[in-house]
Structure formats: structure tokens, C-alpha cells
């Protein structure tokens, strides 16, 4: 089963998101890497690398889709990916989708046995998803 890795600037935020994901898809392996090495807000490439390795192992090599919060995490993710062996790196995909919505959508697809590409697509699709009902005009219900 495809695993998820949640990457971001806050350990608390990611722990809470992991709990939300566990509610909708308890069988999907989810690892987290949030906060700096010093435990403050920020990112840590070594922590991300560890989360990726753990997720890969939990997926039994099937693959990992990464969801992250802000663009600056992408750089730390890039460093972490470079530290992985090529064969492992090839089984990791980073989603351009939003962190929360993407994680939930990806987890649902992964729980249904989706492939690496399908789980990634589910997460990516959340970027353009309409989450306000159509009758909310200018942010307010009609």
C-alpha cells in the first residue's frame, strides 16, 4: 500500500493532520517530519529523510506520496531526496496539492489500493477542487 509522508514547518500541525488522516484511512501508513532540528518552527532535511525512509519501508517498497505545507519545505525535501539511494528516490512523489485536503484525498486513494501515480493524482487534484458549495457567492452563502 502506498504510504504518505507529511512534511512541514510544525510538528504539532502534522501530528494533528496525521490523526485526521487516520480517521478516514486507518490502514494507510503515514510518517511526519515537522519542525527544525531544534524543535522550533522550521524544516529539517535529516528529519524528512528519516520520514521518507520509514514511509518507504512501511509501504513495502510500493512508494510514498509527500504532502507539504509551504514552498520552502520543498527545498528541504529536495535535500532529503538526494540523500536517498536512486531506487528509493524513484518511489517517492511530491504533491503540488494543498497539505490537508491533499493528505486526506491521497489517503483515501491509497486505502483503496491506488497506485503511486493514482495517489499522487488524487492529492494534486485537490489544488483545484472547489471546497465551498456552489451557492456560496463571494465567500458567503446566498
Amino acid at each position: 500500500m502506498i504510504a504518505l509522508a507529511l512534511v512541514g514547518h510544525s510538528a504539532d500541525l502534522l501530528a494533528a493532520l496525521r490523526a485526521m488522516v487516520a480517521q478516514v484511512a486507518p490502514a494507510v501508513p503515514v510518517t511526519v517530519a515537522g519542525g527544525s532540528a531544534a524543535g522550533a518552527l522550521g524544516t529539517s532535511s535529516p528529519a524528512i529523510e528519516a520520514a521518507l525512509r520509514a514511509a518507504l519501508a512501511a509501504s513495502a517498497g510500493a512508494g510514498v506520496v509527500v504532502l507539504f505545507d509551504l514552498g520552502s519545505a520543498a527545498m528541504a525535501l529536495e535535500m532529503a531526496l538526494e540523500a536517498l539511494p536512486v531506487t528509493a528516490r524513484e518511489r517517492v512523489r511530491a504533491s503540488r496539492g494543498p497539505l490537508v485536503e491533499g493528505a486526506v484525498a491521497a489517503a483515501v486513494e491509497a486505502a483503496a489500493g491506488g497506485s503511486l501515480e493514482a495517489v499522487l493524482a488524487a492529492a494534486d487534484a485537490e489544488r483545484d477542487a472547489t471546497k465551498l458549495p456552489p451557492d456560496w457567492l463571494a465567500g458567503a452563502p446566498r
Binding site: 527544525s36 532540528a37 524544516t43 532535511s45 520552502s72 529536495e78
Partner: protein, 221 residues
């Protein structure tokens, strides 16, 4: 008493300067970032000095020092700056280790300190530009680093020694950092501010100028 290698003296002075300017860097970052640049860099350099003390960071040869310094920065500074400075230092070390790089052929003529420093500095700047996927004019550290590298190269090409080249680079970096004030940020956390980023000096450019000033000061002896 043997004097420490220039590279180590630079790292020590850089650490001291970063610590001294920690509040200013943090204030710059509070204006257009997430307010932790000074704190993060200070912590990273403190860790770097600690590793020097306990011997886990080699003080020689230069390639090894640079690569280990890059790893230390990357691991402890965190965020974009940690990744960028860390990658820059690592690639600088790799470039020096590779010699002149063309199919691994050794240099026919022994390189001067200035030539070697240019190889390292150029590799660092290119690595930072590549990782950050940025160029000049986007209100980043490159706005200090690229003019500094260009000034360094011009000095070396016209026969300048290490002291002259690093002095030229430091001056260009300071001017480059000042020149970020009117720029609109399109990269990093500052880009979220859009037009509100205008009128503020980029913290990454400021810290680059600090690092290069420290290098010039140790090279001046």
C-alpha cells in the same frame, strides 16, 4: 604556534559576526520573512564552531572543511537558508576537491589561493542559484552573491591576490544587499508579501554580505 588555516579563521570570524548581527538579521527577516534568519544562522554557526572544537569538523584540507561545514549548516540552520548555504558550502568543497574539473586533469600550473578561492566561490554561487531556482533581481541572497562573485572574478582575472579579490567581493556584496531594498520579492517567504516586500533589505542578502566581509577581513590579515 601554527596559525589556523584561513578557511577556519573565516568560519570563526563569520560565526562571531553572525552572532553580533543576529538581532539585525532577525529584524530584517521579521519584516519580510518568518523572523528567524538571525537566530537560525547564529545557531548553525555555533554548531559549526562546536564541531571544530570537538574535532568532528576537520580544519583541513579545505575541501573537507567546506563539505563538513556545509553539512553542519544544512543540519542546524534549517529552512531555505540552511539548505542554500549548506549546499553552497558543500559544492564549494566538492569543486576544490575535483581540481580544475576537466576530466579530472590536474592543473598544469599550480593554482594561487585566489584562483582556488574563485573555484570554490563560483561553485557555491552556482549551486545556490540552481537549488533556489532563482536569479538576480528577485530579492534573494543571490543579489549579493552574484555581484560579489563577479567582482571576485574580475579581481582575479586582473591579477589581484586573495586580499584584493575578497575585498572587491565584500564591497560588491554590501552594495548588492543594499540594492535589494527597492526590489519586489518573487521567491521565498517574502514573496507572500508581494508589494509590501518593497522597501526592505533582504535578510539572505544581508547575511551573505556579512559572510563575505568576514572573508575579506581574514584575507586582509
Amino acid at each position: 604556534m601554527t596559525e589556523e588555516p584561513l578557511l577556519v579563521r573565516w568560519l570563526r570570524l563569520a560565526a562571531a559576526r553572525v552572532a553580533a548581527e543576529r538581532e539585525r538579521l532577525t529584524a530584517l527577516d521579521a519584516a519580510i520573512g518568518d523572523g528567524d534568519h538571525g537566530i537560525n544562522l547564529d545557531r548553525g554557526f555555533a554548531e559549526l564552531l562546536h564541531r571544530l572544537e570537538v574535532g568532528t569538523l576537520p580544519d583541513a584540507p579545505s575541501p573537507a572543511t567546506l563539505e563538513a561545514a556545509g553539512r553542519a549548516i544544512m543540519a542546524t540552520v534549517g529552512g531555505s537558508s540552511g539548505a542554500l548555504y549548506g549546499r553552497g558550502l558543500q559544492r564549494a568543497g566538492a569543486a576544490l576537491a575535483a581540481g580544475d574539473g576537466d576530466a579530472g586533469a590536474p592543473a598544469i600550473v599550480p593554482r594561487s589561493r585566489a584562483d582556488r578561492a574563485l573555484i570554490a566561490f563560483d561553485a557555491a554561487v552556482e549551486a545556490i542559484a540552481a537549488l533556489g531556482r532563482a536569479t538576480t533581481g528577485e530579492k534573494t541572497m543571490l543579489d549579493a552573491l552574484v555581484p560579489a562573485r563577479d567582482a571576485f572574478r574580475r579581481a582575479v582575472d586582473s591579477g589581484g591576490d586573495l586580499a584584493a579579490a575578497t575585498a572587491a567581493a565584500a564591497a560588491a556584496a554590501a552594495a548588492g544587499a543594499e540594492a535589494t531594498i527597492p526590489l519586489l520579492a518573487t521567491r521565498g517567504r517574502a514573496s507572500y508579501l508581494g508589494e509590501r516586500s518593497i522597501g526592505h533589505l533582504d535578510p539572505g542578502a544581508a547575511s551573505s554580505a556579512i559572510l563575505l566581509r568576514a572573508l575579506a577581513d581574514v584575507a586582509a590579515g
